[in-house]
């Protein structure tokens, strides 16, 4: 009977209900095994059951629900935690699933460094599984590069990873990529916007003028969307454009923003491939710790080079680091 119980316990997979995040992304966990901190029983009779409700549980895999002895009676409300003990050794992993663009390169970074890359399929689906992730708080970033070399926005998830738990972040829906063929366009001439999304997705192109214009486009079977914008629809001056996409079941966040001027001449955008729009100081087509170090060298120093002073205010400040962090690729 003991052997039978052991087999049953070993084979138990406890699926906890998924949490729907604000943007429709789903966060769910799978816990292997059967410990005091996931068994649904108040093992230490303190009126609290399992992790994270019972302070005696440091994680789902903690096999001792007994409350820890308070290390110091002097601390007021808040804080605390910790304690517990024992526990079984089970794999800890994080899985990311979602939609990017057909045949796009999807990159995952963890705490600022790239830890995995994969290729999205024809239907734009991708999945990345990371095992051996240490217990603690990690920030993960997912981004993709479409067939034309245009980067998506980075979607980040800061996750408190628990020992012995598989955390699944699913239903990630990366916003469309966007690029405009001119940085300045003569009033009345067309401006071409292109990008990628999920095949057959409805793409909304939002042009910010005095009044916001919304243009609807349907991506083709390869995920490509193109829109020829008549600049007579807006006044002379600076404008921005961004997109979002929706399918029958989901809607994405907003994409990156493209800036353009409606003026008196046409100025072509330099290149279609925007591997690193800003922040790539050493020209290796990445924005990472190398660029951070170069910027950190100039922090607080006089007369930084223009390539490092990203907001062009004559000094390297926290604002420049914020711009670098936005364009981070890992």
């Amino acid at each position: 009977m003991k052997i039978f119980n052991a087999i049953v316990i070993t084979l138990i997979f406890v699926f906890y209900p998924a949490t729907i995040l604000a943007d429709g992304t789903t966060l769910s966990v799978t816990i292997l095994g059967d410990t005091q901190c996931i068994d649904g029983i108040d093992n230490d009779s303190d009126g609290l059951v399992d992790y994270p409700n019972d302070s005696g549980c440091s994680s789902f895999s903690d096999d001792d629900e007994t409350d820890p002895v308070s290390p110091s009676p002097t601390v007021g409300t808040g804080g605390g935690g910790g304690g517990g003990g024992g526990g079984i050794i089970t794999p800890t992993s994080v899985i990311f699933k979602g939609l990017a663009y057909p045949d796009s390169d999807v990159t995952l970074f963890q705490d600022a460094k790239v830890v995995a890359t994969t290729k999205a399929g024809d239907a734009a689906k991708f999945e990345i599984s990371l095992s051996g992730v240490s217990t603690g708080t990690h920030t993960f970033g997912v981004w993709a590069e479409d067939k034309q070399g245009i980067h998506s926005i980075v979607r980040t998830f800061t996750i408190a990873v628990s020992s012995g738990v598989t955390t699944v972040v699913s239903d990630i829906f990366l916003p469309p990529t966007i690029w405009a063929d001119k940085t300045e366009v003569r009033h009345g001439d067309p401006l071409i916007f292109i990008g990628y999304s999920v095949p057959s997705a409805d793409v909304a192109l939002l042009i910010n003028s005095e009044e916001e214009l919304v243009k609807k486009i349907v991506a083709d079977d390869a995920g490509l969307w193109v829109y020829k914008f008549d600049t007579l629809e807006v006044e002379y001056g600076n404008h921005t454009a961004h997109t979002r996409a929706n399918t029958e079941i989901d809607i994405s966040n907003f994409s990156k923003t493209v800036n353009f001027i409606v003026g008196t001449e046409n100025v072509a955008a330099l290149k279609l491939s925007l591997k690193a729009e800003k922040g790539d100081m050493n020209n290796d087509e990445r924005v990472d710790i190398s660029d951070f170090s170069i910027m950190a060298f100039w922090y607080g120093r006089q007369s930084p080079p223009v390539t490092i002073d990203l907001n062009d205010d004559g000094a390297v400040t926290l604002t420049d680091f914020s711009i670098l962090a936005f364009y981070w690729t890992g």
Binding site: S72, A112, S322
Partner: protein, 298 residues
Amino acid sequence: MNKIKLLVPYVILAVCLMMAAVSRASAATFYFSPVEARIGTGGEVDVSVFLDPAGEHINAVEGEVLIPNNFVSVGAISDGDSIIGMWIQKPAYKDGKIIFSGIIPGGFDGTYEPLQPKRKAGKLFSFRVRADKAGDAFLVMRNVQALRNDGFGTPTEVSLLPLPFEILEYKGAQVEEDADTVPPEPFMPKVVRDKDIFGGKYFLAFQTQDKGHGISHYEISETKDVWVTADSPYVLKDQSLQSTIRIKAVDYAGNERTETITSKYSFAEEKGRFELLALLFLGALLVYVFRYIYMRRS
């Protein structure tokens, strides 16, 4: 009339709490944990600084924690389990204040915890406070900035909550250290060269995190068994890049993580050797095939 007078402090407190609640609802909030402390003289308490983004998406923060050093003193400062991915200025105590600044690449909009529908605040760093003298004191923050992850570094409104400290005339307890046997996180140091810094010399860029007690320091070895304590960026002594470089991250519990960058030249030599061997093998194969064909014909 007396009853009304008695109610006045409570009304003021309620208004303050309502204002704080409204402020917290619309601004990124920096606060301490614990939110208040009562401690005996000579006692210690670990204080953490948290960021609640309150719906904002934040990727850069900086600020100062003022220490009332006539009442308390600061012990170890730890960045263990911090949400900060890259420190511009790692939290350090100087002249009565702890100064910090760092970025979260990709941004931070709250910590997701499985089974918890609401996102939680993220820890920036923690520090140990020792009570030196009885009395009432406050830990406060100032010059705090939180910038949005919008590609422009737009500042967001911040709300700063102080930490009231009541230090009493009894012997306070010391903090017991948790066991920490987990080494710092794996990292990827890079050899970089840029015309705009260090006169175009090669330098090392590195930084990692520790999920336990935090990173204590880094050591670098360019020569076998010779280690020097160093910070990033570090100008390499061997500008010819012939040495194997090892970078060691050490946490406050003494756990270590070492990463190695193999010599550029030794790698090239290995590759060269492999190519030479492959050519020799192909040559030998061709000679053998021709000899075989020649023998069959004759």
